[in-house]
């Protein structure tokens, strides 16, 4: 319902200029502005109707897709799925014209409807729509298609589209997590690389446990993992191709290489090299194999992580006598300490959206997971534990995963959002540590 043009123009002038003493006709004086500055962070009530289907097979797929979408959205902490038993309109039959008053009546503010098709070529197709219940507007309408075995990715992509429309930020559901699966007695721990979907599905092991492995990290394409493996008594950085299982050592150095991470363009690996006991940070170009030493200090310099634009590197060093976080240019110049509070600061990881650096902090016998701005200001602690370590960012920079171990307990993965209010354990077949979140998967 458009405003009469003069009024609309007037509004704009009024509020853009803020010149309130302007000659305003008395009739327009009704235009009172009421400012509200304390939003709520309650999960948005959303109704997720299982997509419409025309036979039992399709109905089963539809139900599973709705289940995955529900788990994803609820797991984000930003949505509350309304219990389908409360639905007035149950069968998803009004895919194109939902009865919005029914949905309003049960408190839904957003609604997802859809249709599922099993195609004769073995594909699944889903057509879904996201609706704003209050206004009856369609916010998203999309068709997705993939092989039947791949149905979970379809549900994840659907979740990402909904999340993106309603939050304005990219999703993180069509992603994977690589981590270290731990088994066996404490003194003879068996550690294997394992990979799974972000929600724990499609779990598989990538190494056999013969060699000690740790600290896996994804390449920007999510096709490769760089990690540390002990071959005999030689701890070395390797790259593993996830699909082929091929493994390759990253450079032949005299001394231990560890703490590897890809550069944002995937062309370089930055890592620590301990030579004569002194750990320094090096970058290696994966195409030319040229290496560049970035730090020169007798202290321990480790846990490097690139800024998303590749221009800077944040790292951990005890050069001041205790572990603190430093930032330097990608060529090693301009080293600057950014963490200035008491306590030991470690494992800095630059957020994919660039605005924050996540870290592990040790203070007074406890471990904390927190974030700070790249200039060191605005520190916030999000989680803590007897042992909590190794944050990794979801690709949208709003959620972190890390591992935690209670006193006398075993290590487990957790995720938490930036508010610190939504900490959730991840279920894994074995004890779990050192998680790394992949970027959004490509189509």
């Amino acid at each position: 319902m458009p405003l009469p043009a003069p009024v609309s123009r007037l509004c704009r002038r009024l509020f853009m200029a803020g010149l309130l003493a302007f000659a305003v006709p008395a009739t327009a004086a009704a235009q009172l502005t009421i400012r509200i500055d304390d939003p709520n962070f309650e999960p948005l009530p959303i109704a997720i109707v299982a997509p419409q289907a025309s036979n039992d097979d399709e109905r089963s797929t539809a139900g599973r897709i709705a289940g995955v979408v529900t788990a994803n959205l609820e797991g984000s902490g930003l949505f509350r799925a309304i219990d389908p038993s409360a639905f007035v309109q149950r069968d998803g039959s009004e895919v194109l014209a939902p009865r919005f008053n029914d949905w309003k009546g049960i408190g839904a503010e957003a609604l997802i409807t859809g249709r599922v098709f099993h195609r004769t070529n073995g594909d699944i197709r889903i057509e879904f729509r996201l609706w704003d219940v209050a206004t009856g507007r369609q916010l998203v309408g999309r068709r997705l298609e993939t092989g039947r075995a791949n149905w979970r990715r379809l549900a994840h992509k659907m979740s990402d589209a909904i999340y993106r429309r309603l939050t304005g930020e990219s999703g993180y559901f069509d992603t994977r997590v690589v981590y270290v699966a731990e088994s066996g007695p404490v003194l003879k721990r068996v550690k294997r690389l394992a990979i799974m979907d972000q929600d724990g599905a499609n779990h598989r092991f990538l190494t056999n446990g013969k060699n000690l492995v740790m600290t896996p990290r994804f390449s920007p394409s999510a096709q490769e993992i760089t990690y540390l493996e002990f071959v005999g008594e030689q701890p070395r950085v390797y790259i593993l191709d996830i699909d082929s299982g091929q493994r390759e050592i990253v450079g032949e150095f005299e001394g231990m290489t560890f703490a590897p991470r890809f550069s944002p363009d995937g062309n370089r690996i930055v890592m620590s090299l301990a030579r004569d006991g002194n750990s320094e940070i090096y970058a290696m170009d994966l195409r030319t194999r040229a290496t560049e030493r970035l730090t020169r200090h007798p202290a321990i310099d480790t846990s490097p992580s690139y800024a998303p634009d590749g221009s800077r590197i944040v790292f951990d060093s005890d050069r001041s006598g205790r572990q603190k976080i430093y930032v330097m240019n990608a060529d090693g110049s301009g080293v600057r300490r950014i963490s200035n509070r008491p306590g030991r600061y470690a494992t800095p990881v630059w957020s994919p959206r660039g605005d924050l650096i996540a870290f592990t902090k040790l203070e007074a016998g406890a471990f904390f997971i927190g974030v700070m701005q790249p200039n060191g200001e605005g520190e916030r602690i999000l989680a803590q534990g007897y042992l909590a370590e190794g944050p990794t960012w979801a690709p949208n920079g709003r959620v972190l995963m890390y591992y935690k171990k209670p006193r006398g307990g075993t290590a487990q993965l957790y995720s938490i959002d930036l508010t610190g209010r939504n900490e959730r354990p991840m279920s894994t077949p074995e004890d779990a540590s050192d998680p790394a979140w992949s970027p959004l998967l490509e189509d």
Partner: protein, 169 residues
Amino acid sequence: MKLKHALAVLAIALASVGCSTKPPKDGGANTRVTQSELAKPGPGKSWQEYTAPSRNGYSDRVFFAYDRFDLDKDAQATIRAWSEWMRAHRDATVLVEGHADERGTREYNLGLGAKRATAIRDMLIALGVNARRIRTVSYGKERPAVAGDDDDSYRQNRRGVARPSTGGA
């Protein structure tokens, strides 16, 4: 080589005899309890005997303070004994492991373990052991010696361990 071995064994034998005490006779009226330290095994012994705790041998490990890699007096004495053993076993090489407790982050602890192993290596070299006979490795917090989430466990896990092997053999 063999001659040196033999000499070393002889030296230990003599030392053992010299330090032993006479047992009291059966039914004797001797109420005095005598005690004396057993001699530490000589460097000619096998590493197992040299470092066997039940024989009051030298330790095969040294300990570090939290987040430190400097060697205290006990550690220095132990490493001196290791160097003597190395001198008596010219064909032996040694792997020096550096370990950390779990109260540190994984990557930093690898760096810390490397510093600990290197501190030991440097002292061995200073005591005359050829650098080529020493390898170091850091396990960080990956291979604790004892399980347990208490200060005593942490203390035992912050360690450097010598693992010699007889060269070539």
